[in-house]
Structures are given as structure tokens and as C-alpha cells.
């Protein structure tokens, strides 16, 4: 039983790792730069990859067809089987920084000019949705991870101090946490966002977003950590340690925090998807990171216009792309909680 669940757990971690790797290597996997426009192909539908051509021949190297516009109408796209663009792998393309570390311009796949390959279609400026989804994922996921880190750190410190020292600190902190938890979280985010200037550069907006979400989210983890620390403090081995002269810092480090470790990890697995969702929501509503930097949130914003939603369904790609991540994190949180429960017995 334990072996089986261990195996499932490892598979889960592996799957999540692959997903994150894909996002980390976004620059490599995406054929185009996120800002590259193609004004001749606004709202291009997704292109299919073919192995068998119109004559029925099988090709080892996959290819895509080009588009032609009947009657010079830019809004209608027909498959043009005369334009065949084979896929090449490890092609040179627009320069980028791989994992933000070193510069290169090799992309995983691409097609020769003048062809384009839009796996997920294109938006109103002819920008490749696939590339933008991958890049957007970098921003959204990073925002979620950083904000979760911030909230957890803050929550652990404050909750830990409250639980360990008790007394007035504990009371004040817990009342404060209650106030933060008394507001619906989205309203709270809005309130804090309202306090800040509206027009900000995307980079500053990103940092602002992370700061807001993280600072607002300290309350829930703080309460949980406080509980763990409170019960750990009362354990006899903590008393014994004090009995031979251990300092508070030593006790916190050696005895209390390891007990809290399980809770912290589970909280992390729960908070990251919540905060990614928060970024998506805020950017979607125009209060987060704005154009031209893609995030999963602001890419979905255009879908509020019903005609776009109806006619250009592929624009929902960023939303759909987020689902496996949410599934993964939820499963991870479940698994972590189960392991923590088993370890406590």
C-alpha cells in the first residue's frame, strides 16, 4: 500500500516537473517571440499538423498548409493546399533568454518564411497564441510561486512568533488575521490594488501584483502555523531542551519548525494555484500586468467581447493551459496531506 502510493506520488511529481519545465523552456519551445506580429493573419485559426498530403503520400517530416483568403477577405481563412511548409526542428529564430539565463536563438521547431505555424491560432495582431501562452505561463506561474513564497514566509514568521510567545502578541496577531480573513479575498485584493497607482509599467505591475497577493495572504497560513507551533511548544522534549539551557532560537529551529514543515509544504501546494488564479483574475480585469506582456489573465481579457468569444474560440487557450497545473497542484496537496497524516501516526 505504501509502495503503491509512493509510486503514484513520484509520478505526480514527475508530471508537475514536466509541466513546469515546459513553461521554463518557453522561449525554446515557442516558435515565435511573444511580441512578433503578423498583420496579414489577424485571428488566424489554429493550424493542423499533417503527415499525409493531399495526394495521399506519407511524409516523415510533418508539415502545415498555408492560408489563403477567398475574395481578399481577411477575416475568412481557407486551407491552401498549394502552400506546404514542412516543419524543421532546432531552427534559428528570434533571440531570447533561455530560462532567463543565457542568450540563444534556437527554437524547438518552426517553418521557413513566408510560412507561419500557429498551433493555437493567432490573436488580432497576428501574434502566435501558442508562443504567447507559453510565455504568459512564465509570468502567471512565477507570480503565483513568488506570491505564495511571500505569504508563507510572512505567515510562518508571524504565526510562529504568535504561537511560541503567546500573550499579547498572539492576541493582536490573531485579531489582525481575522480582519484580513473577514473580507472576501477578491474584494481585499481590489481594495489594496485601488490604493496603488493604476497605470504602471508591466514589470512594476508584476512586482506590485506579487507584493499585494503575498502580503494579503499571510493570514491563513499564519493561523495554521500558529496552531502547530503552539502544540509543539507544549511538548515535553521542548521543555526538556529548555531545561538544559537551550535558547528560544535553538528550540524554534531544531524542534518546532521541523514539526511545522509538513503544514508549510501542504500550504504551499494549496496557495500556489490560488495565487496563480489571483493573478489571472486581476490581469483579466485590467488591474494586473498589462499589454504588451502576455499573462494568462490579460490574454483572456479580449474574450469578454462576445463576438470574439464566439468566433475566435482558440483565444481561450491560456485558460485551458492552466487546468493541468491546477489539477497537478491539487493532487499534490492531497498527496502531501495524506503523507503528513500517515507520518503523524
Amino acid at each position: 500500500m505504501e509502495m503503491k502510493s509512493n509510486r503514484k506520488y513520484l509520478w505526480l511529481l514527475g508530471a508537475l516537473a514536466v509541466l513546469h519545465a515546459a513553461i521554463l523552456l518557453a522561449g525554446f519551445i515557442a516558435p515565435y517571440d511573444e511580441a512578433a506580429q503578423n498583420r496579414e493573419m489577424p485571428f488566424s485559426p489554429p493550424m493542423r499538423i499533417h503527415f499525409v498530403d493531399s495526394a495521399g503520400h506519407f511524409h516523415v517530416r510533418p508539415f502545415v498548409y498555408g492560408w489563403k483568403h477567398p475574395q481578399d477577405d481577411f477575416t475568412v481563412y481557407d486551407v491552401d493546399q498549394d502552400q506546404v511548409y514542412p516543419l524543421h526542428f532546432f531552427v534559428p529564430g528570434a533571440p531570447y533568454k533561455l530560462a532567463n539565463l543565457f542568450r540563444t536563438n534556437t527554437h524547438f521547431f518552426g517553418v521557413d518564411a513566408p510560412g507561419s505555424i500557429f498551433l493555437f491560432g493567432a490573436d488580432q495582431f497576428g501574434r502566435d497564441v501558442f508562443s504567447r501562452t507559453l510565455r504568459g505561463g512564465q509570468i502567471s506561474l512565477l507570480a503565483g510561486l513568488l506570491a505564495a513564497g511571500l505569504a508563507l514566509t510572512l505567515g510562518t514568521i508571524l504565526g510562529g512568533l504568535a504561537g511560541y510567545y503567546g500573550g499579547w502578541w498572539d492576541a493582536i496577531l490573531m485579531r489582525g488575521a481575522e480582519l484580513f480573513l473577514a473580507l472576501p479575498w477578491l474584494y481585499l485584493l481590489f481594495a489594496v490594488r485601488a490604493f496603488l497607482p493604476l497605470q504602471v509599467e508591466p514589470k512594476q505591475a508584476f512586482l506590485l501584483l506579487v507584493a499585494i497577493i503575498g502580503l494579503v495572504g499571510w493570514a491563513r497560513p499564519a493561523r495554521l502555523i500558529r496552531g502547530v507551533v503552539l502544540s509543539a511548544r507544549e511538548r515535553d522534549f521542548v521543555r526538556a531542551a529548555r531545561g538544559f539551557g537551550a535558547s528560544d532560537l535553538y528550540i524554534l529551529r531544531r524542534h518546532v519548525l521541523p514539526q511545522a514543515g509538513g503544514v508549510i509544504l501542504t500550504q504551499a501546494a494549496l496557495l500556489v494555484p490560488q495565487y496563480v488564479l489571483a493573478e489571472i483574475t486581476l490581469s483579466f480585469l485590467g488591474l494586473g500586468v498589462g499589454e504588451p506582456v502576455p499573462t494568462w489573465g490579460n490574454m483572456l481579457a479580449s474574450l469578454m467581447q462576445v463576438h470574439i468569444l464566439e468566433s475566435y474560440w482558440w483565444m481561450i487557450a491560456p485558460g485551458v493551459a492552466s487546468i493541468p497545473f491546477f489539477l497537478g497542484y491539487m493532487a499534490l496537496a492531497n498527496a502531501l496531506e495524506k503523507r503528513a497524516r500517515l507520518a503523524a501516526t
Partner: protein
């Protein structure tokens, strides 16, 4: 001569020990502990007197037992004697030094002299630690080097009858009795003068209790330790201690040699305890007699 007879030889049965012997390694006078439950935002105060007017003396190489039922304040007193809780009032001297007035590094130095062993070995040892880590912890905390601490830990384990090769095992791999030995080894790490055993043998099997009792006696003889043996088990008390103090509702109602307590208890409460013990024993022997 048994220990009790030795003591009786030296004193008057109707006087308490303190007045005829020299000052002990631990002297407590008039200790008082009152709990007030009043936090911010809670409704109303309530005060609870854990114990009061407690006078105790511990002597090197001798064992004082503290007897009483649960709730009589024994454990709180034990914690106060090592300053895990602060007494509300009273005087406490260890080797002549005012223990209650110490702070900081002075306190830390003085703390080494008196160590407490808890009842529940399970909760007194961090389950995530290895045996060596547990036993060596007092040394690490007091800035011994890792290597010295580990070597000393192995020695200490041998002292309490555990093989040194078990040092790497996790705490959860030890049985109840073995865990108490680890706790004992840990308590001895800093060469204390005084050991306070708070119901330390209570959770153990009879045979393990016997082994532990022998171990404690040997250690006491070898290192001239003073013991405060807190228990509600009068048989253990009789086997292990030189003097007995009886506690009821936070007050010490009688304090005399073991011999006196068991043969001629003065206080009503002590009498009832001793009678109960005898009755129980008689009942058992009667039962045993009936069995084929």
C-alpha cells in the same frame, strides 16, 4: 543496615530532617505557585493554587520521595524546581546559590546541576531524532563540539545499559523502558548533582521497573546524586527512597524517613495511603492463596 535504618539511627523520629542535618544540595523554603488564568480578551479571572508553603531538602547520595495523588501539585512543583515554571514566591537554593534570582548565562550554568526526567518517555524525546542526537543534545546546546558530544553520548548510553552501537537508531525504534534509559542518559550528560524523576517509572512494565530501579540505585551510588523521586506508587517509593514527603492539595502534610512513614504514619492522609497499600497487597496475597 538498610538505608532507612541508617537514617533512623541519625535522627529523632518526631523531628523533620532539615533541623538536624547540614544544608542539602537543594534547599527549598516556602515555595508557592499560583496560576491566574487571564489572557487578553478572555472573560474574568480564575486563580489556582498549585502548591504552597513547600519546604524540601535534597542531599547528595540520598533519595527523597514525593508522594501524592494526581492533581496534588507534584508535577508543577517538579517543574518549578528546575524553573520550567516560575514559583510565585519562596526561596530555592542549589548548592547554596539563589537559583530563582539567576538569569541569562548564569542561569544556564546553574541549570546543569538539576535535571528533570518526565513520565512519558514518548513525548520527552523528539521522535524525529536519533538516540545519539537525543543524548547529545544538552552538550550541543552548551557548545560542546560535535565530536565530543557524540563520544560522550556513546559513553552515556553504555552507562545506562544501552549498547553504544545503537546510537544511530531513531528514537521511535526504542521500547518504553529503553526510551526512559535514553532520557536518563540525556539527563546525566551535563553531570548534574540532582535528578528529579517525575513519575519516571510509572509507565513501565514491572520487570522493566525493577531494572530501572537497580540502575538508578547504582548511578546514585557511583555519582553521589541526589534524587527527588515523585510517584504515586508506594511500593516503588519504599524500595527506592530514604525519606518521603507526602503531598495533598498542594501542601506537604508529612515528611519523614521511609521507615517512619510506612510503619508509623502520623498524618491522617498518609495513614489512609499506607493502609490502602497494605489492603491491596493483602488482597493480592489472598487471591494468590486461593489459586490452585
Amino acid at each position: 543496615m538498610s538505608r532507612g535504618e541508617c537514617a533512623a539511627f541519625f535522627m529523632n523520629t518526631n523531628e523533620t530532617i532539615q533541623s538536624t542535618m547540614s544544608a542539602g544540595v537543594l534547599e527549598a523554603r516556602g515555595l508557592l505557585k499560583v496560576f491566574t488564568t487571564q489572557g487578553p480578551f478572555s472573560s474574568g479571572k480564575a486563580s489556582l493554587r498549585a502548591f504552597q508553603a513547600v519546604d524540601l531538602s535534597l542531599y547528595s547520595g540520598r533519595t527523597l520521595a514525593l508522594v501524592g495523588e494526581s492533581g496534588s501539585g507534584k508535577s508543577t512543583l517538579a517543574r518549578c524546581l528546575v524553573r520550567l515554571e516560575e514559583p510565585t514566591a519562596g526561596e530555592l537554593r542549589i548548592e547554596g546559590q539563589d537559583f530563582l534570582a539567576l538569569t541569562g548565562s548564569d542561569l544556564r550554568r546553574a541549570r546543569k546541576k538539576v535535571q528533570l526526567i518526565f513520565q512519558e518517555a514518548m513525548s520527552a524525546l523528539n521522535p524525529g531524532f536519533s538516540a545519539a542526537e537525543i543524548v547529545a543534545e544538552p552538550l550541543i546546546v552548551n557548545h560542546f563540539s560535535r565530536k565530543d558530544a557524540r563520544d560522550r553520548a556513546a559513553t552515556l548510553m553504555e552507562m545506562v545499559g544501552l549498547p553504544g552501537s545503537w546510537a544511530g537508531r531513531g528514537a521511535h525504534e526504542f521500547s518504553g523502558g529503553q526510551k526512559q534509559r535514553l532520557a536518563l542518559a540525556r539527563a546525566l550528560a551535563l553531570n548534574p548533582k540532582i535528578l528529579i524523576l517525575d513519575e519516571a517509572l510509572s509507565g513501565l512494565d514491572l520487570s522493566v521497573q525493577a531494572q530501572m530501579t537497580n540502575l538508578l540505585v547504582d548511578l546514585q551510588a557511583e555519582y553521589n546524586l541526589a534524587y527527588l523521586f515523585i510517584s504515586h506508587d508506594l511500593n516503588l517509593v519504599r524500595a527506592l527512597s530514604d525519606e518521603v514527603a507526602v503531598m495533598k492539595n498542594g501542601l506537604i502534610v508529612e515528611n519523614a524517613t521511609t521507615e517512619m512513614i510506612f510503619s508509623r504514619p502520623q498524618h491522617l492522609y498518609t495513614q489512609s495511603l499506607v493502609t490502602a497499600m497494605h489492603t491491596l497487597q493483602e488482597g493480592w496475597t489472598q487471591e494468590l492463596a486461593v489459586l490452585p
